[in-house]
């Protein structure tokens, strides 16, 4: 190949590069909001157990609520731990803008320390960050009041019902004012009535401070009810199996569960889920 043509090739590439740069900047300001946290082509492999997740992509905008739905063992919880920074991917990149103390997790079980009162449990994240005990407890009491547990500050976890313990766990997650809230099947162990009440509580709390929420669930109705975007994951290893946007105001209007829109969205998610299951089998 003659030297001249190589140079002209280089020039062309440079020009294209410039144009690309311009266009992405344009996209970023006009259409794509800055993502708060994202997974790009992540793969997680555990030695001896093979691939648990991926390749999987997910981007989360500030204040957005996303639900991850999928069969058991599809790597939903792994994806959540990656976003929390509790685990690193084998391949791919994870970006996280929230700093320490700006990410909070609620697990499937309330995960409260049995030897501490509800108040002390909720104050724990603050105390770990160096907030004085008195101030931490005052803020914890406020957070408990926000989830309707204002009178249970002194109670031990063993004295709380399942729903109350989950609320305390939620208060502990919210007490630091997180920008990113990760919920790992938070209501799975609760009865239907309690979980519906908690779903509304989470949405009400969300509208106060607008953290981005990503939550894992097995329950299609719950996903559609709470999320602006429902991402279906296929099983073994988890990949994206489709996405459904639920374009309705948040918190949800009364009777949202009986609307045509709700039914359609739930149906779309169910179809994607069925497809995800069949690819696994």
């Amino acid at each position: 190949m003659p030297a001249g043509s190589r140079r002209s090739n280089g020039m062309a590439a440079f020009r294209i590069g410039l144009q690309r740069k311009k266009s992405t900047r344009c996209l970023r300001t006009v259409r794509v909001p800055e993502s708060l946290a994202s997974l790009t082509g992540v793969i997680v492999e555990y030695p001896g157990r093979g691939r648990a997740l991926g390749p999987f992509d997910l981007a989360l905008a500030p204040g957005e609520i996303v639900a991850l739905v999928g069969p058991s063992g599809c790597g939903k919880s792994t994806a959540l731990r990656l976003l929390a920074g509790l685990e690193s991917p084998t391949h791919g990149t994870v970006t996280r803008t929230p700093g320490r103390g700006e990410t909070a997790v609620v697990f499937q079980a309330p995960t409260l320390a049995p030897w501490l009162s509800a108040g002390a449990n909720v104050a724990l994240p603050l105390e770990l960050a160096g907030v004085k005990k008195q101030d931490a407890l005052a803020r914890a009491t406020e957070a408990l009041a926000r989830v309707g547990l204002g009178s249970s500050v002194e109670a031990r976890p063993a004295q709380l019902s399942g729903g109350m313990a989950m609320r305390a766990s939620l208060a502990r997650a919210l007490v630091t004012g997180p920008k990113l809230l990760l919920l790992d099947e938070p209501f799975a162990a609760l009865d239907e009535i309690t979980r519906r009440a908690l779903a509304d509580d989470v949405l009400a709390l969300w509208s106060a401070t607008r953290p981005a929420i990503i939550f894992v669930t097995h329950n299609v109705e719950e996903a559609v009810y709470m999320a602006q975007r429902v991402v279906v994951m296929t099983s073994g290893p988890g990949r994206s199996g489709g996405e459904t946007v639920v374009d309705a105001p948040l918190p949800r209007p009364a009777g949202f569960r009986t609307t045509e829109q709700f039914r359609m969205a739930a149906e779309a998610v169910s179809h994607q889920l069925a497809a995800a299951m069949s690819t696994a089998a």
Partner: protein, 252 residues
Amino acid sequence: MKNALPPLALIAVLLSIWQAACQMLSIPPYLLPAPSQIGAALLAGAAVLAQAAWRTLLMALEALAAASLFASSLALAVSLSRPLGQAIRPLAVALQVTPVVAIAPLVVIWAGVDHPGRAIVVLAAIVAFFPIFSGATRGLNAADPDLERLFDLYGATPPQRLMRLRLPSSVPFLVEGHKVAAGLAIIGAVVAEFVAGSGGAQGLAWRILEAGNRLQTDRMFAAILVLALMATALHFVFQFLETRALKWWRGR
């Protein structure tokens, strides 16, 4: 109190049969004294037996305290350093599986033949060491994994993790370990006193040996009875303490 009725009734029945059998079959008292004779020996030797029981109890409790201190601090050190744990565990197991009777003569020589009390405390402490050590080691690793993740998430420092998560999580295991160790400490003290074989410590085991040598079987039975009662009482005291401690820990 209702729970005490069936065992008391059973004891009464067994004692009556025993008493009747001794009288009707005219068994010689050095072979099997009747319960009435044992009772008489118990009353006659009450002061001596009480003092001996107190000695044994004191030695067992000293041993328990020493074992608690050493086992807990060693478990803590092991939990902080993985290589140290790997190094120590086989040694701890070796110490545990070697019968205390086998090491007793050695400890008696080391502690000084003139101070059998010291040797007995050391031997009982060796026996009481293992349940506390294994309980503490397990307890310090028994924190809820999700709570551990939470501590990761909030960037807890190692001292924060230890003081606010691992130590409090280990409490039920520690309490259980101490309860088991208390029972073993009594056994250890008695066995060690037998092996030490001298009257220097003046504990219950010595009273049993002494009465046995003189073929005073009724006094032997009386000493054994006191020992059994003391060990049972100690067991219930520690069970009560365990219940209270767990209630405090769990808040219910």
